[in-house]
Symmetry: D2
Subunit: 344 residues, 4 copies
């Protein structure tokens, strides 16, 4: 089969021919119909410091997919050949403290598909059954493939109630755009989106934002305060990891509000005004991954009802062979893309 | 001023002329622009057993209103002449256990506007400032008047999250229709509405229900199980108080789901299958009133965003003088009405 | 090995000799060091209507145990030979809606150890690894064996916070006595225990109850109201399933309080005053089993800290061969027993 | 009457003679029986940057008290002459977004007793009835006086459940010592206390800590990891505001755990490893004040049950006239004190 792999400890990826993998007793073998590129894949492609410390070549990468089950391991329950699935990328061990406390998604021995185990930028992929999610067959492979990152946005947005509340989303990458759509589907009051790139601002409107503010608008704080009658936002969804955005989020959050931290910062330590959060009596909810599978059930409900449509965020589709063009499109300075798919 | 009052302990109400009331130091005087009739008012009109034990004539009735503040008591903060307000009908004492535990709406010494104190079916009404809610001036008096019962539906529906979850609403009176609209605005997955009257079924569709089932359909339970892949509903919103509906709700609720009890039963004691709920490990959330004012803020967010539109539920509008026609319309057997307004 | 089994569809149990069972790939084989008798076992012994419909002889019964792992299946992770374990009796399927929503304990395809699969009243028992719980080796087999029912009490009591709150426990069987101990360990304010049997009242005091009231005291309601300054109890723990107790619990619960339903009623349907709960704006939390394994972790913390000591509730210890004496002691009218152990 | 006041914008306080204040219509006049010194008072005494920007002399300071009501304003409900009270120091406006969302303690127009209004280091003090809390008459004035800071610890510790969970408390000032006592009363599993001063370590043991670690122990992180089987702590209670402690707390917190931020940092911005919290999927709960009055009810329950005894934290008692000695004792380098009282 064809696959996209990191073959040696250096920038880039290679298109290889390799054997179709065999599923273990608790695994599914999946024919990949669509895969999507994550920021993590771009880090691996660029071979940055994090990738160098974590990735052990040779490794097939990729962890966002939709596909059909073509074989099942002999101890598998709940899934069968012909099922149309997506995959949770967080592979839990099943017996640590977190796995036994309803927190499998942050397992103490967590492995990530396409990072610690062979991934899905390939014609076939092995998916542990504990990570498999059965889709409605009416769903397109493209939507199926973006459910993993969409799930991040669902969990970030809905970890507490947003219905009727004023939400500010920081960041217009796929995570921010998806979060805007989820807040819209869940009946948020105002959805103020702090954005950077014009191309993505147009997508934001389609996803349901009610007000756009440029990230470098010197009146950003004033505008949010004014839009909320001086109270500040009930909910911040921080999808950038940018220290400036984080501290703006802290500033515009209302007393007693919820700050939701999803974006990872480039530096290990950043300066924040923790006192402001303490004085305000706020909660900071930090999000890694998605709840297994509460988030997926909520997401299915939102998608099936038609209230959440992630399609506008999918801007490009390339064949697996065109992967270089895909990664170049992704990192282009003007960011005239959002979610990019690879079709094996 | 004109007012509608229970003047003697007997069925019916009378249109009277009386003095405009004076606000106390913590009160607002409000010119009533629109009022709405509640089931409670119909009970008082009919002079049933409950009314006979609770109501002390003479009493101006009515507790759902929108109007303009025309005078404020001298210790009032936060409100001023000219404000456009609605009123929370639950009048809390301010110093009991519940009032000091974020549960003012179920105050240990609770009084109800238009039941224990003079109400709003009149040209002017006195509203304790602790019960006043400032509306956006763009709101119509009609919508303002129905916020109290709409708030019941908001609290019933959103006491826990519904986004992406499958909801079954029992009851097609105003409470059930409003709940359907709230579930829709908050991004519920399926919204299955168990209805009785054809006229109201049409309104239900406008409010966002995704499936209608007649209350006496012998396949009701099967249909709900089938629609939920055999799992059952995540959330039941029981708005009827009918023992049959309550036990159907218990039956179609999924293991680990939420049963929300809003409807009051005609008899003090009813037979229920509590074991089924225990085996299923469910939660029953009982709703009386609305949270003060968390529910009102959520409702404002849902209304302002345009996601929740209660207008289809308002079917009739009468002048205060036409009150008899209004009450007759309300109790007509064919139920070709939902929420009915009285305009002073 | 010796085992206690229901060999035919009739009252009683038989002591049999049978082969030591073989663990499957995901199982542990455990040498049982102590087992405890549950009310469920008494139902099976008596061969009541429920047992007749559920139990398929021949079946080794019993589901509360402490013991040592003597062999592990080949796919087992997290456990090894020599581990000292207890067992969760709820066997989840792993792939249903509940299992994938942090509710394994109320799995949609739930099986119960010793009810649907061979149990632990035997020298050896097979335990699915998903149900195994590793104990500290300093724990006695006796305490290990009662953790399953103690866990019911931990979940019932701590499904919401009790620290500093006034709690009323209905029922002085093992479940009620354990719940009293948990409320005490978790820092409840008053712990009012509604009791029936004198022998168990003495145990209740050791477990930490602050006030005892006889179940048939005509002033029961008044006494609880008085003890709570007329407010009523914050939390009811209903461990009896007796309709009288359930309605007394509803009556003494404060507005806005928590009613926790653990006891199963003898009849399928019972009469309750649901209106009272709705007027009061209460929550009813229905408990089946224990959270897997959040409850077990909390229980371990409470036991290890020394704040919770279940020992006073263990009143009798019999050899497996003396099982008839054990069941007779359990059902004696004067209830001069609480938790009874069988030692293989 | 005698009172302790900041009379001019300079370090120190003065003992003055002044008129007994008059209560307004919604106020109580209280004869102060005991008052306690807070860190805030020490800041005002020292006349640091914060005090210079916030305090407007002349001002009677102090906000922690127990005393007897000697007069009530004419609109007061729920309190009467002779009541023995303590006071919530956060004075809410009653009509802002937070006040109407169950968050009075972080009112949008918050005033603090003894900071923004005349305080309680005096023979008499005026207390707004909305801030008054009635004590059981069996309570000593000394315990009554420390309930305000004890309430901080109750809210910090019990904002989420701790029963059976492993808790690490950072800081051995009164806040940390009180938190240790609350965690103990609420049945925490292990209570690991990170301490600095020997004198206070002895108090910590009396309050219920199960393990003490010196704040500068180079093995601090290892020791906590080891004590928790490598998992890390379920709950961090950060009572210092020290950036080093904050980051140690982040490091020893388990994946999915709760970090509770109470301590204020000296600098507005501090460096923290937010990524670690995001990777771990943690919650940070920021605490300012106490819930009005949920926290006070819980505290009353814990105190009345005898499970929480704050007495060991009260180390010194001075007459109001000896205030200089009191403040010197408080700031002595060896910290041979904890909570210090002033008796008018």
């Amino acid at each position: 089969m064809k696959a996209l792999a990191k073959m040696k400890p250096a920038p880039g990826l290679e298109l290889i021919e390799t054997d179709i993998p065999q599923p273990g007793p608790n695994d599914l073998l999946v024919k990949v119909q669509a895969a999507a590129i994550c920021g993590t894949d771009a880090h691996i492609y660029a071979w940055d410091a994090w990738s160098q410390s974590r990735i052990k070549p040779p490794l097939i990468v990729g962890h966002e997919l939709g596909g059909e089950v073509v074989a099942v391991g002999k101890m598998v329950g709940g899934f069968k050949k012909g099922d149309f699935i997506s995959a949770e990328s967080h592979i839990p061990c099943g017996y640590c403290y977190q796995c036994r406390n309803d927190q499998q998604h942050i397992c103490g021995n967590l492995k990530i598909l396409g990072v610690d185990t062979p991934g899905c930028f390939a014609e076939y992929a092995v998916i542990p059954v504990v990570c498999a999610w059965k889709n409605d067959k009416s769903m397109s492979p493209e939507i199926a493939a973006v459910q993993e990152p969409l799930g991040n946005a669902v969990y970030t947005t809905l970890c507490e109630d947003v219905s009727g509340l004023n939400v500010v989303v920081f960041g217009c990458g796929p995570a921010g755009l998806f979060a805007t759509g989820v807040a819209n589907a869940a009946g948020a009051g105002q959805i103020i989106h702090v954005v950077k790139h014009e191309f993505r601002s147009a997508i934001s409107k389609k996803m349901g934002s009610t007000k756009l503010i440029k990230y470098d608008d010197p009146k950003l704080v004033d505008k949010i305060k004014e839009a909320t009658n001086g109270v500040g936002a009930d909910v911040i969804l921080e999808m950038t990891g940018n220290p400036g955005a984080i501290n703006q989020g802290i500033e515009v959050l209302r007393k007693g509000g919820r700050f939701t931290a999803f974006g990872l910062t480039a530096d290990t330590e950043i300066k924040i005004n923790l006192n402001a959060l303490v004085f305000k009596g706020c909660r900071i909810i930090c999000i890694n991954g998605r709840q297994m599978f509460r988030t997926w059930y909520q997401m299915a409900g939102l998608l099936n009802s038609g209230r959440l449509n992630p399609a506008p965020v999918i801007t490009h589709k390339f064949k697996l062979e065109e992967f270089q063009k895909a990664f170049e499109t992704m990192k282009a300075k003007d960011r005239k893309s959002a979610k990019i798919l690879l079709i094996p």
